[in-house]
């Protein structure tokens, strides 16, 4: 993708900025891959199109984020090299997005919990002093709005639906809840990028996220799970078992036919 970009700000540690762009890209890529697994497998045709459209939006964000990460890194890696030619430990996505599809309720819960964070995140990033990230964010806001609204409406429909749909929706939320804490963690990378006026204070997103989740779960007659032990490690490349299987499929073409292009 030939995207015009600003020169990376000089006051920021290049490594931190690279990792930051990579993390955002990895979140979107892995979630997009999970949604891609649903092509022709969603419960109905309209939903098949909706979920894969959401995946496509995310994939578009990934391309811009990886292209930028490659430029910041300055080692000549393009979006494909970053997407396909890394080891598991080099992927820095949240554990939440790699969790398997299981059933439709899990797909919706994962999307809702993630997008409800993503929207205020990109609204804050749109004000970044880094012109490239701000531009990607301004674009993403418009897309993520539809992701929040679509998944929230399904949470309500399933939660306030039949006994079976209510049970499944609650089970999915209970199962995924322990992966939500990682979304708000400020580590050295996040802090360095924030201090440079580029990044977002993830802790400050919590209030909006809580409000969104509580509003929707109440409307859905569901119980907000209690905060307990929270899983983490994704940001440092320590993943759940699922990640290896995802990469096996995602990287298959490049592993089987090195350097192949379409």
């Amino acid at each position: 993708m030939t995207t015009a970009t600003s020169t990376p700000t000089s006051t920021i540690d290049k490594n931190a900025l690279f990792t930051y762009a990579l993390r955002l890209g990895d979140d979107a890529l892995i979630l997009s891959h999970r949604l891609g697994e649903l092509v022709a497998h969603a419960p109905e045709l309209e939903e098949d199109i909706a979920l894969t459209n959401i995946g496509l939006d995310l994939l578009g964000q990934v391309r811009a984020l990886y292209t930028y990460a490659g430029q910041v890194e300055g080692k000549g890696r393009d979006e494909d090299a970053i997407a396909f030619l890394r080891e598991e430990r080099d992927y820095k996505n949240l554990l939440l997005v790699e969790q398997p599809n299981e059933d439709f309720a899990h797909v919706i819960a994962r999307q809702f919990l993630f997008s409800a964070m993503s929207l205020p995140f990109y609204e804050a990033l749109a004000k970044s002093s880094d012109e490239t990230l701000a531009g990607i964010a301004q674009k993403a806001i418009k897309e993520v709005r539809y992701h929040v609204s679509h998944s929230a409406k399904w949470v309500i429909r399933l939660g306030d639906g039949t006994e079976e749909s209510h049970r499944r929706m609650q089970d999915a939320l209970d199962a995924l809840w322990m992966y939500t804490g990682e979304m708000f963690v400020m580590d050295d990378v996040e802090r360095a990028v924030l201090d440079a006026g580029i990044g977002v204070d993830r802790e400050s997103l919590r209030a909006t996220w809580n409000d969104t989740v509580t509003t929707v779960l109440t409307e859905a007659t569901l119980t907000t799970p209690a905060d307990g032990w929270m899983a983490s490690g994704g940001r440092d490349g320590r993943h759940s078992d699922h990640m290896g299987y995802i990469l096996t499929e995602l990287q298959f073409m490049q592993r089987a036919y090195p350097n192949m292009t379409w």
Partner: protein, 177 residues
């Protein structure tokens, strides 16, 4: 001084000609709209024989962008601008408010309900607004306003899917963005 003025005039005449070429490049997914109608061409710059056309995607993942870029290069080459370069920018982010009036009318005639004019500016992010939001789309076939949203996601990322409650025809709506 005079030279500069002459040059700038020549440039602008040249650029006008290029805009006319771009008006012949159609969106591959909505072939009644040119890339100019759609508002995705953000600028044209010339420097001698070199031409730079700046475009912006409707959606980050719009798969038509590669084709659009190729179509622009082909049209430019055919019209005597072989040294054209297409630059993609994300900012400022594309909005349906940039769709020309002519573009809106062409969409309607093609059977796609155009986005509400100025509708993009009204979009909000608070959850209460997101849950309550209903974009209205009059039926492009019979004109009735009694229509129903089937899915917020349609045949391409930029469209949602509706059905008309009066003539019962399904139709696409170019959603506010």
């Amino acid at each position: 001084m005079l030279m500069a003025e002459v040059t700038s005039l020549a440039n602008s005449r040249e650029e006008k000609a290029i805009w006319s070429v771009l008006e012949t490049v159609m969106d591959p997914e909505v072939p009644v709209l040119s890339v100019v109608d759609l508002g995705i061409v953000r600028g044209v710059k010339t420097d001698g024989d070199d031409v730079e056309v700046t475009i912006t995607p409707t959606y980050s993942g719009c798969p038509a962008m590669t084709v659009i870029e190729l179509d622009i290069l082909t049209a430019m080459k055919r019209n005597g601008y072989p040294k054209t370069h297409v630059k993609t920018v994300f900012s400022p982010a594309w909005t349906t408010d940039w769709l020309s009036d002519a573009g809106r009318e062409k969409l309607r005639a093609y059977g796609i309900a155009p986005p509400e004019k100025g509708g993009a500016g009204k979009l909000q992010s608070r959850i209460s607004a997101l849950l309550g939001e209903e974009q209205t789309a009059p039926c492009p076939h019979c004109g009735a306003s009694d229509t129903k949203l089937v899915s917020a996601f349609g045949s391409t990322p930029c469209k949602s899917h509706y059905t008309c409650n009066i003539c019962l025809e399904p139709f696409d709506h170019f959603k506010c963005h």
